[in-house]
């Protein structure tokens, strides 16, 4: 591999010192003159008609700013893919925790007190609270049939091939909702008058927020300004919801004559009302040849989208494309639907649909192996994709990745063969603690699906300053994942400059071009490439001006800016030549490239408590060139921790369409005590179209742990778990029912 000055080195996190010392200011830390504190009155009912809004008599309401749907100057929508979600419920309620009234007051405690003094009278309507009820259309709550989106991927003759198979298997897998649990709950500050709207806050996608404010206010684009403040984690949870919160604070400020208004959710409100991972149900019907060859796959995948469309069609798309896993299969059907239910809308969460469908296929492979009398590794060995094979959408696998070797490396690290053989003997004894080893093989497409990167048309700019520094201008946000640092490394590499010369400008729509949303594992792979190209363009400019003779980039920039007044280069997204995609037929190159992985877990199931503990975890992945080993390993470890949580303990308990356990004391995310040492290994095969050869990796680690764990439980107990989270309660039913 090429040796670089900055790429491939663990450059320290750029904002790390400020975060460690507390100098970094988050939205709720900002001191603002004349600030009003906002609060939201929400529905309790999952569905109904609003009959009246009552403000308690004798309470000094004149001290408060009060906003209802009637106060909205433009359209009452939070604009996403479709304009079906109101900013404030008007007349009807479609989910619990839906915002109805906004309040603001100079005293943050007074506004909390007031919130309890608003009563909304609601006439309940029949509800749809599960995938099954939504499918039954009893009642219809969205569109004609409760269906936000249907996707069909077909190849060959799945029905014919299935009948001819030596062995057929049908099973249904379920996954639950999951809360992102970023450290910083959603928070936003708005200042809005007809002269202009300024919203600052915690977010992943400043231009999504910009678009939503534009639609709701009907103001010219240039009058709307969105600034990302230091953001304490997102994981997808700050992809679409900040648009809602931005509209709320801006509306309150609008009504208050432009006074700044802040809403900072507490943890309970954030957990109860913001987006979560889509619950899913996946039925797989498969057929295998006598030798274990996968002959046919018929997948019926359903996502629970919640009450409004938001991002569900896009989540569904990624789920559908990943549904057949990393396997060769000539006869395939994936029928995928996102359905409406009367729960708060489900949204983006690291993995974005892929964890759900990959969970199903990776569990299915282990079940099939058991029936076929093959070791799960052997079954995969016979079916894994090879370079040049056709994937589900007909995409030819171009990545030069040896998946069998990748799998074998993980299996060697976890000592799979030895444990696979010895554990059954150990488990036959009296010890109630049973041992198991399991693994999964999977991939994650980098960047937006299909032609969407071309539609986004992202732009990044680099600016030289009079002082000889370089500013990276992009809308991509730092939220803890390391974007600042990676952009710095890439820009420094392109310019052959020291990293300290580079400054990544905090995203502000008045300053930065639209480099697209900070999602879809695209920031390094796609936007990082734009940073690189803009950097190379700047270096070329300096070279052509004859200013780099002695290699002093800072001096060259100073001279250039002194001579020409400014130095700015831009780079716009260009799709790799080979990428062809047809959105109508779902054929073609779904993603320009994929990251590939095999994760293996060694675990203990305690039959006294039905608790599952992971003793050892190995994560082997191919992610192109690793730009920053420390940050990359951190991403993998964090994603595995979230994956273990989703797989074992993180259960959203729904009561009447509302998250009943919206507290960290009863929604059990894994602590350090619950996690094993996570051993991370990278295979590096530089990707020609990524900066320095990098691919996206942020979401990948979420896709594999759950199935690896449940495959290990199958090994430990000989039982067939098909749902996550596999809580002790669920496992008890499985064990006792056996």
């Amino acid at each position: 591999m090429k040796d670089y000055a900055h790429i491939g080195r663990s450059v320290l996190r750029r904002e790390g010192r400020a975060k460690l010392t507390g100098a970094a200011l988050f939205t709720d830390d900002l001191k603002i003159e004349g600030l009003l504190y906002g609060a939201t009155v929400r529905s309790r009912e999952p569905r109904g008609r609003i009959k009246g809004i009552h403000f308690e008599e004798g309470f000094p309401w004149e001290e408060f700013i009060i906003v209802t749907a009637r106060d909205i100057p433009g359209k009452n929508v939070v604009a996403h893919l479709q304009q079906d979600q109101p900013c404030l419920a008007d007349g009807v309620i479609n989910h619990a925790e839906e915002a109805i009234v906004l309040l603001a007051h100079p005293d943050p405690l007074r506004v909390q007190d007031a919130r309890a003094r608003v009563r909304v009278d609601v006439e309940p309507l029949p509800t749809v609270l599960s995938i099954e009820e939504s499918l039954a259309c009893d009642p219809v709550i969205w569109g004609q049939d409760n269906v936000f989106k249907t996707i069909l991927i077909t190849k060959g003759d799945p029905d014919g091939a299935r009948v001819k198979g030596h062995f057929q298997l049908e099973a249904t897998y379920r996954t639950g909702a999951q809360e992102q649990l970023y450290i910083e709950p959603n928070a936003m500050i708005g200042e809005a008058t007809a002269e202009g709207v300024l919203v600052r806050g915690s977010m992943q996608c400043p231009y999504y927020v910009h678009h939503a404010l534009h639609e709701m206010f009907h103001l010219p684009l240039e009058k709307i300004r969105v600034v990302q403040v230091e953001t304490g984690g997102g994981f997808g949870g700050k992809e679409d919801y900040p648009s809602m919160l931005a509209c709320h604070v801006a509306l309150l400020s609008w009504k208050a004559g432009g006074r700044p208004v802040k809403i900072a959710y507490d943890r309970e409100e954030d957990m109860a009302c913001t987006t979560k991972r889509h619950p899913s149900r996946t039925r797989i019907r498969s057929a295998f040849g006598a030798d274990g060859t996968l002959l046919a796959l018929d997948v019926e995948l359903i996502l629970d989208g919640g009450a409004y469309m938001t991002l569900s069609p896009v989540v569904l798309s990624r789920a559908a494309i990943h549904a057949s896993g990393p396997y060769r299969c000539s006869n395939l059907r994936v029928h995928a639907q996102a359905l409406a239910t009367n729960t708060p809308p489900h949204g983006a969460f690291r993995g974005f649909g892929a964890p759900q469908s990959l969970f199903a296929i990776e569990r299915h492979m282990d079940e099939a192996a058991q029936h076929l009398g093959l070791d799960p590794a052997e079954l995969r060995r016979r079916n894994l994709l090879h370079t040049g094979d056709a994937m589900a959408t007909g995409q030819i696998m171009r990545d030069e990745v040896d998946l069998v070797a990748l799998m074998d490396r993980a299996l060697t690290e976890i000592r799979y063969a030895e444990k696979r053989a010895s554990y059954p003997t150990l488990n036959a004894g009296d010890d109630p603690v049973k041992r198991g080893v399991g693994f999964s093989v999977f991939m994650h497409g980098g960047g937006f699906t299909g032609s969407a990167e071309s539609t986004l048309n992202s732009v990044v700019a680099l600016e030289g300053t009079a002082g000889g520094r370089v500013r990276v201008l992009a809308a991509s946000t730092e939220m803890g994942q390391g974007a600042n640092t990676v952009f710095t490394q890439v820009a420094a590499e392109a310019l052959q400059a020291p990293v300290d010369l580079i400054e990544v400008v905090p995203p502000d729509t008045a300053l930065v071009p639209n480099s697209g949303p900070t999602v879809a594992s695209r920031t390094t792979q796609v936007v990082g490439k734009l940073v690189l190209d803009a950097g190379l363009a700047m270096r070329k400019t300096l070279l052509e001006a004859g200013l780099l003779a002695d290699g002093d980039v800072a001096a060259a920039i100073r001279t250039y800016v002194a001579r020409h007044g400014a130095l700015r280069t831009e780079s716009r997204y260009q799709k790799p030549d080979f990428v062809e995609w047809d959105d109508a037929t779902y054929r073609g190159d779904a993603y320009a490239t994929y990251a590939w992985a095999c994760y293996a877990a060694d675990l203990r199931v305690d039959l006294v408590t039905y608790e599952t503990q992971v003793a050892d975890f190995v994560a082997v992945q191919e992610v192109g060139r690793v730009l920053n080993p420390t940050l990359a390993a951190g991403q993998i470890e964090g994603g595995v921790a979230q994956g273990i949580g989703w797989g074992l303990n993180e259960e959203v308990i729904w009561r009447q369409g509302s998250m009943a356990n919206h507290q960290m004391s009863n929604y059990l995310m894994a602590t350090a005590a619950d996690l094993p040492r996570i051993r991370v290994f990278f295979e590096e095969r530089p990707y020609a179209y990524g900066p320095g050869g990098a691919k996206g990796l942020g979401e990948l680690p979420m896709d594999g742990p759950a199935s690896a764990l449940l495959n290990g439980v199958q090994h430990a107990l000989g039982l067939v778990p098909r749902q996550v989270p596999l809580t002790p309660e669920v496992l008890m039913d499985l064990v006792e029912g056996a």
């Binding site: 006294v608 408590t609 356990n661 894994a670």
Partner: protein, 287 residues
């Protein structure tokens, strides 16, 4: 935060005597020790109390005192003090273990044994251990002090023998000497910072191959922390190596009355309580 500090008042006595007087003058004032149980619902706006009696500064209620026959803990003894106390570690390991799994380190350094008892949560971590060690509580008012067995203290869900003018002042544990068997296990699903779904503590002494003394107590399976007297009876005097497990499990099911809640199900609690009992007996054999 949804609690309203401006609507609340805190009375801070300088001595136990003053605290007891305030208890009489302001029976509505909620005693506040470490605050670890009260601050959570307060912040969430779910604590109805408006007046608090702050006991935190009362030195009379602090400290662990060891004598020949007993150990006495002031009501304000912190979980952390119990966890690191060498004699407690040696002679009352269940209490030490339960203190170590109460909340996080920060909670253990602020939460008190007396507060844990007074709050009366059936899911509290230390009560089953206090029950199996046969502890007694000193309840004090201006009328005087009285000692009650801890086993009698809780009378129902968040109800107790504590009179409106009384405070818990001391917790007394009789020293059990060597040779006993101690068992404590908390099932919280998460390995740290969890509220228990079921917990079981036991203390036993064996001789001549028989279970000669046995106390079993559980948390989170009844409206209050309870002794499993039926299960104890089924096992007392019986063989250590071949105890009547089925009879004990059946008796245990009659001892407990768990419910479904956000943390778990009644069915799970029943099943796991039984599993814990069996696990304890396995441990007793190999002890």
């Amino acid at each position: 935060m949804r609690g309203q500090p401006s609507l609340c008042d805190v009375l801070t006595p300088q001595s136990l005597q003053e605290a007891l007087s305030l208890r009489v003058a302001h029976p509505e004032a909620r005693p506040l020790a470490g605050g670890t149980d009260l601050m959570v619902p307060f912040a969430a706006g779910r604590l109805p109390d408006r007046l608090f009696l702050n006991l935190w500064g009362l030195e009379e209620l602090r400290g662990i005192t060891v004598s020949d026959g007993e150990v006495t803990c002031g009501a304000l003894t912190l979980f952390r003090e119990i966890a690191v106390h060498p004699l407690m570690q040696r002679e009352f390991p269940n209490l030490v273990r339960s203190a170590k799994v109460t909340g996080a380190l920060a909670i253990q350094s602020r939460g008190s044994l007396g507060g844990n008892i007074a709050n009366g949560s059936p899911a509290a971590d230390t009560p089953p251990s206090l029950l199996v060690y046969g502890s007694e509580l000193q309840l004090t008012s201006l009328r005087g002090s009285r000692w009650v067995p801890y086993a009698d203290f809780h009378t129902g869900y968040k109800r107790s023998l504590l009179a409106p003018d009384e405070l818990i002042t001391l917790i007394r544990l009789a020293r059990l000497g060597d040779g006993g068997f101690h068992y404590f296990r908390k099932v919280g699903t998460r390995q740290a910072q969890a509220i228990s779904k079921v917990s079981l503590a036991a203390w036993a002494r064996t001789g001549n191959g028989q279970i000669q003394e046995l106390r079993i107590a559980l948390g989170s399976v009844a409206p209050m922390p309870i002794r499993a007297r039926g299960a104890e009876k089924a096992l007392l005097g019986r063989s250590v190596t071949n105890p009547p497990l089925d009879a004990a499990l059946e008796a245990l099911q009659a001892d407990i009355s768990p419910i479904d809640d956000l943390r778990s199900s009644a069915q799970f609690r029943r099943k796991v309580a039984g599993n814990l009992l069996a696990d304890m007996l396995r441990g007793l054999v190999s002890a």
